[in-house]
Structure formats: structure tokens, C-alpha cells
Symmetry: D3
Subunit: 174 residues, 6 copies
């Protein structure tokens, strides 16, 4: 599914793509930084079937929508396919990515070069999360939750509830 | 399973957690370094169900026990859950981690920050293995064994035997 | 399967091992660089059952053969087992590896040290791909193809055809 | 010297600070990318007395002005002092930095965190130069020029002339 | 100058060596972590004539003493020579080093390996500073101070005063 | 000074350039590896006036010659200018570089890309030193020597003598 939209004017539209499995306070902090820089921010929840996410595509989409509710200029969409083509179809000039660590950097660099090859007019822009969220990733959140730890300072309340349900299920299946 | 123990005095207890799938001479060298620095070392073999280890939790526990037999001040336990909570329940002041490479460093840094957030009084301490074991990891050992190579200089004798059995099995199933 | 060959003279034989799932223009560029440096280049397509490649061992072997057709001094073989032993049995003095990024570097370093331990007389030699292919990997190619993108500038024509077939299959199975 | 300017409206102003000793085609490519993203770009040539630049502050300022001549929405200023304060006084919301390599990344990360501490409302945004300029730095340009190499594809023509003069001088003084 | 001391008992003594030009809140946080882990901590202010420090050896020694005043189990010494020999002469079992970034890591790794070669019985132990000080280094502090910025949250009050004096001097000499 | 030589046949000539300030056992181990791979190895001692080496250009040249004496197929030359042009004038097909760490890697990558741009027919080939010398660099050797440490296992005997003399001088001048 690729969202379609009209952009007749010269607005600067940015896309923030991700799996968001689940969305964390680190992601939210990045969204808040990005909305100050561009006219519109489209958060694109990718299907990512290959990675076998914990939450379904739709669950993740709803989770992200709920978590970003009330932040102005933000729209959440579901996305499956090539990021470069999504950017082009949305007339977005910018892809937003967060950078936390050297390993992020190399992977992101490779992706950005590839996207540039496929859509020359789209620029990848890297932002730094708040220092407090540098250690935070969706993987870490899942690890803590599965082991019965408290994630309430790491994700929004609605995610806490959904993770608790998942953790109970995965415990049962072990 | 989380071990319980009483620590009334001011002993400096350190935990060395890991999957040990299998334990290598690199791990053993780290244990030997750590026992010189702290009063007691608890080697915690984690369940790690998510990673689908080659050896069962119990096999790994027995393997580690056998390999560290005779090193004074060392205790081996099985561990499932949050490392920060294990440290707290054991009144351990220190988590020991080995550092070999830049990629280790980033992951370990993230884990250490998260553990510090969950248990402020526990310090993660990084040690360097002997230079001879810098290239050694459990993954490399499994690779060599599966391909019929000689691992007798990389792991203790009991592990050589167990790996040989596993390699035969995995060969059959291919 | 390990190729056998006689090397009575002092020819400098190099092995370029890989999974090639699929072969990319980056790999081909590396082959072209390597043939200028050594007397013979053996491209060894590894079975790599553990990694669950997209293409079968035989498909990858045929793909590589077709793609390197006409480059002098190159031979393609199938290979399962230890690289160090393959090198020894082929009397190869050199293992060729490409270096693109820091994360490559650390993994390759570890492998090279291990291979040196197993076969002291074999040297691992690192080459740099053309700048244009620095962002290119087999994983990236598969990603683009699965999402319906154009890979015709990234891989040879025969691979384009085979990837298209695979992409259709994997789409059906999702 | 810190430039002063009025920014009553909601224009998005970005600063691109640097020593530019000398300006290279890599810098120019970054400027061209940045002007597409923001409403105004202020290129700030820092004094950087500590680094003992090859060209004087004023030479570098003139060099940058000449090289960016004709690119719309760009202004060049001289700058001495704290970047965070410059950003604040110019009502700039964004600091632009180029990222080429892991070592860049770590230094830039540290700088960005420090600038954020000093001016919370200013965001550091990282851009990637064109792949062709990834290997290019002012240091490399100086190295080649001093050794009598041809830098005409690496820097604009006016810099070629100025470098040639410097190279002759530095040769004399050796 | 190398401090001499008697260590008849089995106390675990650690050395924390550095240039401390100047000491920052990051250094102090590391000292506070280290004193919880070992029985005695010797902070060794190295002469480091090669690096041309901003503050004299004696100024740095006094600065460190003043800043660590009141922390129990800490002793400050001046140190010139080989770290491995200092450790041996003080019967210290441990060298403490802080790790902040990948670039730190590589340099520290090299130093630790070299020190191990020179004094096998001494272990280098790496600690992580508080997240708040990850961006902090003596170099950054000097940069901010020279440019007239506020460093009062980054260093102890006595260092603020001394830096202010230095900054005035260096301004005069420019 | 650039050496001139005739290469009418198809010999594979490699250049190993460096400052060698001083030459270490790590450098020598790399030379020994390289001579097995190529028909001739030219060790090029660069002037490197910019780096202010401890030993003069001529001292370093003589030191390298003495240390490599007796290794067949090796020639030592003095070199000032562009490496790419040296390679071309010597009809060398290969530039040899050692890789020890991630920071090496990035710098070397940049240099190799630049040299490729200047001389397309010359390939940079990276080799790994023996594990025992991974921690070794000319800088580390100088550090230890200046501080009165024993470097006799790190450099050849002739360098020990020359370093001792230098160390005495530099001690006097402090």
C-alpha cells in the first residue's frame, strides 16, 4: 500500500520511515524534532514482512497513530514497497533517519546512497535523538518486556499495555 | 531460575552473564582475569530462548560448570530474566563483559546504559580477553566444527566432545 | 564438494569465496581487480546452508559462472567446508575479500585471523570495490527486487531474470 | 566577529559552519543540497586560530564567497566564537554538517550534543555529500597540492590558483 | 616522579591515569564509580610534555586534588614515565580507563594491550561515564572557554576560575 | 626524490610506502607477508616533512634498509611526492598497506580512493599484520622509549640503539 497525496505548492514534506515494532520514546522525540524543521512530516510504518515483527502491520500502524496523536503537521501512513518511490509519489523532498551509533551510521549510509540513486531529488537527513534515548531501541524494549521488566519510561502508555499482552502470549508459547 | 544468596558482608561480587553456546577459551580467560579483581564471580548462563542456541540451557550450564571447575571463587548459575534484577538479588556490584571489537563495544554500551538505568548501584566493567582469543567467538567455533575443522585449541576438551556429537547430528539433518 | 587441482609450478593462485546470493556488479568489479594481481583466480561459491540463501547452491554457482564468463584466468567452483582447507588443497596462496565498510572490516578481520591460524601459508588480501559499488550488497539487491524496484544497473542481465522469478514467487507466498 | 541579522518571519534558516581551508567540491555539493531543504543558508567561515590553517581567515572567507557566488539563498559570513551563540543570534534553527565516515560521525555527534546543550532550540542536521566526494577533504587537497599533484577536479578554479601560490611558498620554506 | 607506597595486604588498588587538562565532571563521575569497586584509587596526573597541555603539570595536579577533595579512598599523585611500571611499583592490580566512543575504544585497546605486555599482572578495566558526560572532554571544555562560553556545568568551580584566567591570557596572545 | 626503474616484463611490482619513524617489527612482518605475494617489493620511505618525524629522512631510510637486509626481492627507496605518480613511474601495479584497526581503515580507504582516482591502473591491497603486532605502532614505540621503557621486543636491534640516543636527547631538551 502506498499513500497518494497531492502537493501542488512548495511545502517541504519529509518522510520518517520505520518498522516501529514497537514505537519508543526515542522515535517520538525524533518526530518532535523533525516537525520543527519541515512543513509536514509523514510517518511511514513499513510492512517489513521479512523481519518477522512482533506486532502486526496494522497493530504497529495504530500504535504509531495513537502515540503521535496531537503533534501538529504529522500524518501516519502504512507503507509497503520502495522508500524512494514512496518519497517521489508523495512529492517529499526529505527522508528523515535517526542516528545513534556507528553501526546505525554505516547501514543508514548505505540505504541513503541507494535511495539517492533511485530518486536523486530526495535528500536523506540524519537527526540525533535526545541523549536520554541513545540507548533505546525497539529490540531493547522487547527484551525487557519479555523478561518481565518495566518499560513504562521507555514507551508511551498504550504500548505498555500492548506489550504486556504480547509478553504474556510469548511466555505461554515458550 | 534465579539464584538466591545472602551477602551480609562487604564482599565485592561480580556477575559474568552470557549464552556460552558453547563456552570458549576466550570466556575462560576472561573468568580467570575477573577472579583476580573481585571477591566472588558468578557466571550466569542465560536461557536466551530467542536466539535459538545450538546447545540446550542445561547442556550449556553443565558445560560451563565442567570448564570452570577448580577455579576458586567462581560459581555457575542458570539465569532467565533481567540481568539488572539478577544483579540486585545477588547483591552484586559489578557486571563483567568482554570487549573484543568495535561492534561489541556499541552493543555492550547500549546494554550497560540500560542496565544502569534499571539498577543504578550496579556497575558494568569491561575487560579485554587475551590477545590470542580476540578472534574467537562461539559462532566461529560452531562454524569450524560444523565444517569438520579442528576446534581442540579453541575450547576445552569436554566441549570438543559435545560439539562433535552436535556436528554429526546437524550434518545428518542437512 | 571441494575442487581438486594440481599446482606444480610457482603460479600465484587466489581464491575469492562468497555466498553470491545473488552475484552483483560489486562482486564482478572485485573479480576484475583481482585477476590483474594474481595468476589465477578461483571463485568459490559456498553452500552456506546455515544462512538460508534465496537461491539454491547450484543456482548461485551457475549464476556466477554465467556472470564471469569470458574473464580470463577465472575459474568458478562449488565449495562446502573450511576455507582454509580449500586454500591448502588448491595450493592457493591468497584469499581475496572485499572491504566496503567498518562493519565488514571487523568481521573480515576475525575470519582472516582464524584462517591464518588454520593455514599459516595462506594470506588474506583485502581489496576495495569501485566507489560506485560501495553501497551495493546482495541484501540490498534482494530488498529492491522484492519491493518491485529496478535492479538492472546493479546486477548482470541473467541475474535480473532470475531475481524477477524469485520475487514473483516470494510475493505469492507472503 | 559575529554577524547580526533580523528574522521576524518564520523562515527556516540553516548555518553551515566550517574552516574551509580550502573549500572543496565536496563542501560545494553539500551547500547545493542544503539550499533545497531550507529557506536560507548561512555559510560561516570560522577563524579557527587553534588549528593553524594554511589560508588566512580573510582568504578563506573570500575563497568561499567566490566559490558559492550565484547559488541563491546563500550568504557567507566570518565567524569567531561559539557556534551555538551564532545560531541563536541569527535565529537559525538548523546547523548543517556533512558526514563522510565513522570518525566524522563520532566527532560530529559530540559537537552536536554540546551545541544542543547550549542552544536547545537549534537542531544539528547531517547530510551526506555526493558519493564522488566521499574521499575528499581539505587535508587531502593540501597534501596533493604540496606534492605537485593536480587538484583541478577537486576544488573550484579560484582555489587552484590560490593553492598553487601557497604550494610554491611552502616549498620554498621547507 | 613516581610515588612509592607499601602494600603488604591484599587490598585491591586501582590507578586512574590521565592528563586532566583540565579535570571535568566526566572524570569526577568516573572516580566516583571506581571507588565503589576497589579498595583504593590512585589518580595519577601524567606530565605529558609531548602534548603541550594548557595547564602546567603542577596546576593540573592541584586542580585534580582540589576537585576530588573529600572522596574517600582516593589519592592524587604526579606521574611521569611508564604506566605499567607505576602500576607495578604501587602494587596496583588495576588500571582504570573511561570509554565514551569508538575512537576512544581503539586507542585504549592498543594501550591496554601494550601495558599488559609490559606488566602481565595488571588488568585494564574500562568503565562508562554517566550518560550526561558522554559528550564531554577536556578539549571541548577548552574550546568553549576560549570562545567565551559558560563551562560552569561541565567542570568544578575551581576549574572555572582557572580556565577564565587562561582564556583571558590566550585571548591576549592571539 | 623519486626512484626510476625499468620494468619491461610482466613482473608484479608492489610498493609499500610509509614514514617508518621508526620501523617496527609490525612493518617487517608485513614486508615478509608481501614478498610472498608479489615479484618485487619496493619499500618507499616518505619524507613527510609535514608530520615532523623524530628521525631524519635519511636516518629512516638507513634504518629501514638495515632492518630489511637479506629479505629477497625487497628494495628500499626514498620518496617525496605523490604516491600515485611513484607507482606509475615504477610500473608498480600494487600499493601495500597494513590494516590494524577501524581508524586505520577509514583513513586508508580515503587514501586508496584518492590514489585510484589519480592512477586507475594501480590497486591498493590491504594486508593484516601478525596478531602479535596489532597493538604496535611507531607512536607507541616512541612513547615507551621516551619514558625509559624496553622496546627490544618491538623493533630490530639497530633501531633500539638509535631510539636510545634520541630518547637521551629529547630528555635533555625537556
Amino acid at each position: 500500500m502506498v499513500a497518494k497525496r497531492i502537493n501542488g505548492n512548495k511545502q517541504k514534506i519529509a518522510i520518517y520511515p520505520g518498522t516501529f515494532d514497537p514505537i519508543t520514546r526515542g522515535h517520538i522525540s525524533l518526530v518532535q524534532r523533525a516537525v520543527h524543521l519541515f512543513d509536514q512530516l509523514i510517518v511511514a510504518v513499513s510492512k517489513n514482512a521479512g523481519k518477522a515483527p512482533l506486532f502486526s502491520w496494522n497493530q504497529r500502524y495504530l500504535m504509531v497513530r495513537k502515540s503521535l496523536e496531537g503533534i501538529p503537521k504529522v500524518e501516519v501512513i502504512k507503507f509497503d514497497g520502495l522508500l524512494a518511490e514512496l518519497a517521489r509519489s508523495l512529492k517529499a523532498r526529505v527522508i528523515i533517519r535517526g542516528l545513534r551509533a556507528v553501526s546505525d551510521f554505516e547501514f543508514e549510509f548505505q540505504m541513503a546512497l541507494m535511495n539517492r540513486k533511485m530518486a536523486r531529488e530526495v535528500e536523506t537527513v540524519f537527526l540525533m535523538p535526545s541523549l536520554s534515548w541513545v540507548y533505546l531501541s525497539s529490540t531493547v524494549v522487547k527484551d525487557i518486556a519479555v523478561n518481565g521488566g518495566d518499560i513504562s519510561t521507555l514507551v508511551p502508555p498504550s504500548v505498555v499495555t500492548m506489550m504486556a499482552r504480547k509478553a504474556r502470549q510469548s511466555k505461554k508459547n515458550r
